[in-house]
């Protein structure tokens, strides 16, 4: 379903479904799900779930890191290996095992009758770091309710326009003036390379700063960043010149210059015309229907006009193109031509200051640290019972994430112990 943040006129689409469905969609907030109370409640529930899960897990994991339970007390998912030791004594085996572990830079400690060798033992907390990072991100997102966020636009006829700002926490006020904007083209092409806008910051009546914002390079003043968001034709500020042609004789009998929304009387025709909308890319299909496809193909300007006979006759709508078309509306004795038009360029600037940003970034860094630790530095623990049984010693691998991990690592240690024992023979 179209969502308001992505499709600004989503509400208009829902209105077209009729009053019942429009009210249902509105009541369930289906047109802006992600900002609805229901979604926020789900996020809160998720946060609570994470808090409880982490609070239950962390002490258990820390305990398992500091005071691991020996295999007799129950080691989960252990994979066991054996080393043939022949007639070696326990102390010889102990010495050889410790030497093998030392060579692999593993420190061994005694727990019960077992030797324990570990690698990256603290990485068992990687998962909890990731969980904590999600909580931090949610806190950052929550701080977004204190953000300053908005949008302003200006077209070429509005240069010098000022926008007032009030900073909620600092209590200061200043205004921003749009001094100019434009587009840079890739050399030798008509393709835009960059868009820029120059802004002046006025504080207490004096120029406090001159800023330039570009796409991907926002300008910042007193913590508020200004983003070059849109650049293009301001169709709502378009001015057109319409010519009325007497159909039977094919002569222009009058013309009028109009802005969008303006009304004027063409006295020679007895008609009042109002410019409803201007299009840059309106096309007629072979069947005569109209398709508006802005930004695609060769421009094909057109003006949609309301026509009202001054003698009280029925009003009608006409689309005027630069050239007369066989599909022109024949409801009037006059045809309308779009004889000239002017569309000013406009720029859109988004501004934002969000106290949650640093918190969100910190959360993301924490998440990456947690994922790196959890997936690339997995914890390994090897239990070695150095007391020989039936001419063999037992190695138990206790992986951090399921039985499939650490087998190759343990196998390499098994071989190293074997080598050390052979060396002593």
């Amino acid at each position: 379903m179209p969502q308001t943040p992505t499709i600004p006129n989503a509400d208009l689409i829902y209105e077209s479904y009729g009053p019942f469905w429009h009210s249902v969609i509105g009541a369930l907030a289906l047109g802006d799900v992600f900002h609805s109370a229901g979604f926020s409640a789900l996020l809160a529930l998720f946060a609570l779930n994470l808090v409880l899960c982490t609070a239950g897990r962390v002490p258990r994991v820390v305990r398992a890191i500091l005071r691991p339970a020996s295999p007799e007390e129950g080691t989960r998912n252990a994979v066991d290996l054996t080393v043939e030791v022949g007639e070696k004594t326990a102390s010889e085996i102990d010495g050889a095992t410790r030497r093998a572990l030392r060579k692999r830079r593993l420190r061994a400690r005694k727990v019960g009758g077992w030797l324990v060798a570990e690698r990256c033992r603290w990485s068992r907390l990687g998962t909890d770091l990731v969980h904590a990072s999600i909580l931090v991100i949610l806190v950052g997102a929550f701080l977004g309710v204190y953000q300053v966020d908005g949008y302003f636009a200006a077209n070429e006829t509005e240069l010098g326009k000022t926008i007032p700002f009030r900073l909620p926490s600092a209590g200061g006020t200043f205004s921003v003036r749009v001094d100019g904007f434009g587009a840079e083209l890739h050399p030798g092409t008509l393709s835009a390379k960059d868009y820029w806008t120059r802004l002046s910051v006025i504080e207490n009546g004096v120029l406090a700063a001159s800023l330039e914002t570009r796409v991907n390079r926002p300008a910042t003043y007193r913590g508020i960043s200004f983003y070059q968001t849109t650049y293009g034709d301001d169709l709502d500020a378009a001015r057109v010149v319409l010519a009325a042609i007497d159909r039977p004789v094919g002569v222009v009998v009058g013309s009028v210059s109009l802005r969008v929304g303006q009304t004027a009387v063409l006295s020679a025709t007895g008609l009042e015309v109002r410019l409803v909308r201007f299009f840059t890319h309106l096309r007629r299909t072979a069947t005569g229907s109209l398709i508006n496809a802005p930004g695609s193909g060769v421009p094909n300007p057109a003006a949609l006009i309301d026509v009202r006979p001054l003698d009280g006759g029925a009003a009608f709508q006409v689309v005027a193109f630069p050239n007369a078309s066989p599909h022109d509306d024949m409801q009037s004795a006059y045809a309308f031509l779009l004889s000239a038009y002017e569309v000013p360029k406009a720029v859109g600037i988004r501004y934002a200051r969000n106290p949650g940003y640093p918190v969100v970034w910190a959360g993301l860094v924490l998440m990456m640290a947690g994922l790196t630790v959890a997936f690339y530095l997995p914890a390994r623990r090897l239990w070695i019972l150095v007391e020989p049984r039936d001419g063999r010693i037992i190695l138990l691998v206790e992986p951090s994430r399921g039985a499939e991990h650490g087998t190759a690592w343990a196998e390499s240690i098994r071989r190293a112990i074997e080598q050390e024992l052979k060396g002593g023979w």
């Binding site: 992505t6 890739h186 390379k193 960059d194 570009r214 796409v215 991907n216």
Partner: protein
């Protein structure tokens, strides 16, 4: 220059398909030497494609991921790269990976073929970059996301093969436990490798770039939303596997669904809804 790139990509596509054939024969006839040839062809094709991508990047002045055909070429590259990395890490069990290699080679070849087909408009000469894409975050965001998806593709192929083999073993009444376990482990390994890349590229760098370009780190744009859904699918896979001990068929299904979501996020979203991630 465009001609040279075209030749490199065509030769790489042919190399991938030959490599896939070698892997398939190695797997069917149990001839390890044929598998080695498969790796040789895949590695050689990857090298050629890397040269082609570098040349294109130098011509365009940006990482060549700025339109659908370019991104498909990159996608093919990460499929092959993902497979070869997993094969290298799991070299002790290389023989089990051969069928996965056959499909990875086919996917890489298919992505290259699709990139140059009329369906996507073909791989034309690099076009000037639109202002929104002129950022160093483009390379980091897109490349790392796709590298993550390359590993997910390996997991997808392993999981799909798992499901197919299990079905066939059931039907024929044979015992395929060993090979099934290996496929299951390969899928997990590939997801564990790809997940941090996907998180870093797709979510972290995407958020940083969105903040720079649009003034907010998250806006529920359709592409963002489906990236999150894909990420959550793999979070689910990891949680179910590590915490709940899901293995085998159930885990394979989650991996398959996860990659289908990744594919939809990559290709499907743009065709269904126009959002901030639609360029041109």
């Amino acid at each position: 220059m465009a001609h040279i790139q075209g030749v490199l990509f065509s030769v790489a596509a042919a190399g991938y398909s030959v490599g896939a054939l070698f892997y398939a024969f190695a797997s069917v006839f149990r001839r390890p030497r044929l598998g080695t040839w498969g790796t040789v062809f895949l590695t050689g094709s990857l090298a050629l494609q890397s040269v082609g991508l570098t040349l294109r990047g130098l011509t365009a002045g940006a990482l060549p991921v700025t339109n659908t055909p370019e991104t498909l070429v990159f996608y093919g590259w990460v499929f092959a790269l993902g497979y070869l990395v997993v094969e290298r890490l799991d070299r002790a069990d290389r023989e089990s990976l051969r069928p996965v290699g056959a499909f990875a080679g086919l996917l890489a070849c298919g992505a290259l073929a699709l990139a140059s087909s009329p369906l996507t408009g073909g791989l034309l000469a690099p076009q000037p970059l639109v202002p929104a894409l002129r950022s160093h975050w483009l390379a980091l965001h897109v490349s790392l996301t796709l590298v993550g998806e390359g590993f997910f593709a390996v997991a997808f192929v392993s999981s799909a093969l798992y499901l197919a083999r299990e079905r066939s073993a059931k039907r024929r009444g044979g015992d395929a436990t060993g090979s099934l376990d290996r496929l299951d482990r390969i899928a997990y390994r590939a997801i564990a490798l790809g997940f941090p890349f996907f998180t870093l590229g797709g979510l972290f760098f995407g958020a940083v770039w969105a903040k720079h370009a649009w003034g907010r780190y998250w806006g529920w744009d359709p592409k963002e939303t489906f990236s999150l859904v894909t990420w959550l699918a793999y979070v689910l896979y990891l949680h179910l596997r590590v915490r709940r001990g899901w293995r085998a068929r159930r885990a394979a299904w989650v991996a398959v669904i996860g990659f289908l979501l990744a594919l939809f996020t990559f290709a499907g979203v743009n065709y269904l809804v126009r959002g901030l991630h639609s360029y041109g």
